[in-house]
Symmetry: C2
DNA sequence: CAATACTGTGTACAGTAGACGCAGTTTCAG
DNA sequence: CTGAAACTGCGTCTACTGTACACAGTATTG
């Protein structure tokens, strides 16, 4: 059945290593993950190397391999640690809790932008991250949705938050090179406005309105549509 | 104004290099991008190296640097080439064209899974990719949405497609290691079902229903909610 | 006490991106 | 027609990456 979980699964889901015989370990998975998170927060995921992480802890890079099979597993641990415990959701019913969940998740991505890079592709989900999933699925307990639909709702919400966080990462602190990229894009569109009339018009109009509402906009539309579905079942 | 576009912008948006003096170039940006795409399609973005791309073309890696400032710019070119020309959208009004657009975009991600990895983080958008945006924004021309809202719609849809493609990449061809990962996750949840009751119940129920409907599910809910908004304006 | 298992570390290797300079080739200015 | 200039692809070099492996030291067990 589950007699041969991957090494990464062992690290994430236990069991905790039994008492050892040799010299006691100077480091812990938690310390290593924390060091990796600190590094990724400041340098980005691309700037994360075994050497740097080990240096931050005052050890050599090879010592890390006593705790972690490889870099991929380290990143997996970092993800589960950085995402943090799933929050208590405010509000009653399903709508407000889900909206709250989405905003809290967006805040996590804001604190650790590298999570966007670290959570692409097939990967293993840790217990903490699964706690987030549980919180969202549980918010749908009183609805008439099927099991697959509840999972779909969470997948769609998480995907939406991810996508918006990703695009708002480009519009970082003022004066950043990202800002300049956006400026470049804007001027590019303005230059080629003949080829992209609808986009150019929309951007010109958007420049005079409030922006960065994509998260709330998508949230409202999706939850409205979900409400229609749920009411139709009720 | 736009007198100093980044080198990547020059490559993507022209101007085309003026006639040269030295020996004529043996390669072209198109060939290089195509070789990179071929490699990324088979080996993934992680397996993409200047060495491999050059080898595929029968040249040395350093010759590539005559055409492309660096690997990042190569990937940017590959993205714009791989995404392909924006399709004609079927249907009338705004709903069917947008749904069609989303499905076509999902198909692109299916053909080039590495696009998911290549389009994270702040980056420059090329003319072809902008053509996709234009097509979607244009589909909203007859609605009473504001400019910012139209851009939000496109951002939300693209994000949704991205996110679903990402998660369905894990459920690849049967027998793949990804499938095993999912199996591991399923058994993990089953093992810890006490800690994640709602998720475990939803997954157990989903196992007996049709799956992989997340794309259509999210699409329907979002477009339903968008319809409510548009009708309220009309 | 000896065997054992575990620790952190040093060395080694294959691979990466990219800087720089060089020889050959093509075009332009005189 | 001749030199200068500009461009080509290439070989070499540096710095860095992840990780396999062997080794000496240490703590626990029999």
């Amino acid at each position: 059945m589950d007699e041969d979980p991957s090494p990464a699964a062992r690290l994430l889901w236990g069991p905790p290593p039994r008492p050892t015989r040799g010299p006691k370990a100077a480091l812990s998975l938690g310390q290593i993950a924390a060091a990796g998170i600190e590094l990724a927060d400041t340098e980005g995921l691309a700037g994360l190397s075994m050497q740097q992480v080990a240096g931050l802890l005052g050890y050599t890079k090879m010592s890390l391999y006593r705790y972690v099979p490889g870099k991929a597993e380290l990143v997996t641990l970092m993800v589960d640690a950085a995402i943090g415990q799933a929050p208590e959701l405010s509000g009653t019913g399903w709508r407000e809790p889900l909206a709250d969940w989405s905003r809290q998740l967006a805040a996590v991505f804001g604190r650790h932008p590298w999570l966007l890079d670290a959570t692409v592709g097939p990967r293993l989900i840790g217990p903490t991250e699964l706690g987030w999933m549980e919180a969202a699925v549980a918010a749908l307990a009183d609805t008439a949705l099927t099991g697959a639909e509840r999972l779909d709702v969470v997948a769609v919400l998480a995907g939406h938050v991810r996508a918006i966080a990703q695009q708002s990462r480009a519009a970082g602190p003022e004066g950043s090179p990202e800002q300049q990229l956006l400026a470049t894009l804007g001027s590019l569109i303005a230059t080629h406005r003949d080829a992209y009339p609808a986009t150019a018009a929309a951007m010109a109009a958007a420049a005079q309105e409030g922006q960065d509402q994509a998260l709330e906009f998508g949230l409202r539309c999706f939850l409205d549509g979900l409400g229609v579905l749920i009411d139709g079942r009720g």
